[in-house]
Symmetry: C2
Subunit: 324 residues, 2 copies
């Protein structure tokens, strides 16, 4: 099964990997090659850097990120969305990101099960990404994997963040189009949410809109979003009841409208700078683990004049010496 | 007023700053000196590094971090807690941390107002810290400021995180004792919360315990927390109704019990390693801004073969050359 991340693990340790040939296969629509390449990049196996260095910007393959508080119904909405896209004959890749957050809302088997109806559909590619602390941050991995998926010719790439927190918002914010999914109950908090959420959302969805207060909440959001942004985009507010398939096509339309808007070009340098910053930071810290620091600390911390800032500065100098 | 962060800003630009003398004054209980030093470290003004390099571990000044979802009543609980500590004749410092999260729950004036009853109490030192993107991360700043406050001889130091998300959990998790505040309604999510939350919490508080389901929820938490951790600490679950002052003294007792437990020593190397990692990472990225990357990107990204990973690697090499 093309979606099994472990199936090709062993053979990928072998030498003689040809990144250019692999990329050709992925570009040609070979889903098994894509699945293997994802595993390669995710686990940093032979040739993964070479593969990434060969990627060129694939235009016309926009990425949509979904975020929002737990219980907002993101997975149900995405499931319905995929159904609509499939009906329109479009191919879709879904990358489901489990958070690194200590407030880990878990692997949420339930959410994965809800996607099951698409699992045997060849035109829908679904992949879950979990955190790998030892290989650096989750958001850096998602950047790489999404870029890889861009080459595979899907009509839509969806990044689904599971859970809540800064890492999820960051990851969804790295998409070309970011959809923030809320529920009417969020109304109380929207005034305080205002500043931050307006910056990240390209589309607002008020899901579970059959609940009380949905219309008022949606109207309040519309007031907040009433003025076009500096990039000319006016953030739409769409009411949905995803589990009854109400409003879902409007979400598809709003996303596709953003994909083809001038906002995409305006966002691009900011997104790339953010991505570059994260990739550089990961490289700058590569090889240094907390376990290593703990071992070094345990020898020093009982000194009467132990100072954390001197300790940290010593390591900064030590790593810098190894850079060249 | 000692708590005004801007009052001493101008004079602190002057040369000839004597960090050792300043630290002596702070150790001697000079609250204005502490307030100035916080501003110095927060804004990285003259001598802030020297000051940090002089800090030595202050034993007996434990730090308690509070985290939990918005609406859990953290501020109300902390306010009540401070009242109890004051009644027992103890001095308290509260550092309120606003998140860097794009989901910024804002400056939450309401929360600050709730602390107002303590603002004119000389034995209660309150300071808000907002994010300063340009000076590196928020959690690194909090590490420095808390260490500085440890020298000022408070009986308790409380780190209050405002909002929800990874950064808040991270910051609260850097405290010696971490209190996770929940409400009965969180019951539905607790199974999925289980793995992550058990690792960070030293004390659970079920606030708004006059609401339906509080007893069941608290009992479920107790079952999860029933087995002592490897460090020997059994995580207590305390029910409170903070706005009616119910259960607050039990929270104080639970915190003080953890402060004097062997768990504190067991946690210390892990906490220090985490802090060192963050401080090192900030230094490794110092001087590199996203704006700088964006400027460089704008010149290159229109090339037909532009590749983000090659771009990032070039910068990694360039920064490394400047290290030595």
């Amino acid at each position: 099964m093309a979606n099994d991340p472990n199936l090709y693990f062993v053979e990928m340790q072998e030498p003689g990997y040809d990144a250019a040939a692999d990329l050709s296969a992925i570009r040609g629509g070979d889903r098994k090659a894509l699945a293997r390449a994802i595993t390669r990049v995710e686990n940093e196996l032979t040739g993964y850097r070479e593969l990434l260095h060969l990627l060129t910007p694939e235009t016309g393959v926009p990425v949509t990120g979904f975020t929002g508080p737990p219980g907002a119904g993101k997975s149900t909405l995405i499931n319905a969305l995929v159904r609509h896209l499939r009906k329109a004959g479009k191919t879709v890749a879904v990358i489901a990101v489990d958070p690194t957050s200590p407030f880990n809302y878990g692997s949420l088997l339930g959410d994965r099960l809800r996607m099951q109806e698409h699992f045997n559909d060849e035109a829908v590619f679904i992949r879950s990404i979990a955190t790998r602390g030892s290989l650096g941050g989750l958001s850096e991995k998602v950047i790489e994997l999404v870029d890889l998926m861009r080459c595979a010719g899907f009509d839509h790439i969806i990044v689904e963040t599971v859970g809540v927190g800064q890492s999820e918002v960051e990851i969804a914010g790295l998409a070309d189009t970011t959809v923030v999914v809320l529920v009417p109950e969020a109304g109380d908090e929207i005034q305080t949410l205002k500043s931050g959420i307006m910056e990240i959302a390209d589309v607002f969805v008020v899901n579970k809109a059959d609940r009380e207060g949905a219309e008022t909440f949606a109207n309040n959001l519309r007031k907040l979003a009433a003025h076009p942004r500096p990039d000319g985009w006016e953030v739409p507010v769409v009411k949905t009841t995803a589990n009854a398939d109400v409003g879902v096509q409007e979400v598809v339309d709003a996303i596709e409208r953003h994909h083809t808007s001038s906002s995409m070009n305006a966002k691009r340098p900011y997104l790339l700078a953010e991505k570059a910053f994260r990739l550089i930071r990961r490289e700058r810290m590569r090889g240094l683990t907390k376990a290593q620091l703990k071992e070094a600390l345990e020898k020093e911390l009982h000194a009467p004049r132990f100072n954390l800032y001197q300790f940290a500065d010593q390591w900064v100098r030590r790593i810098a010496r190894n850079d060249n």
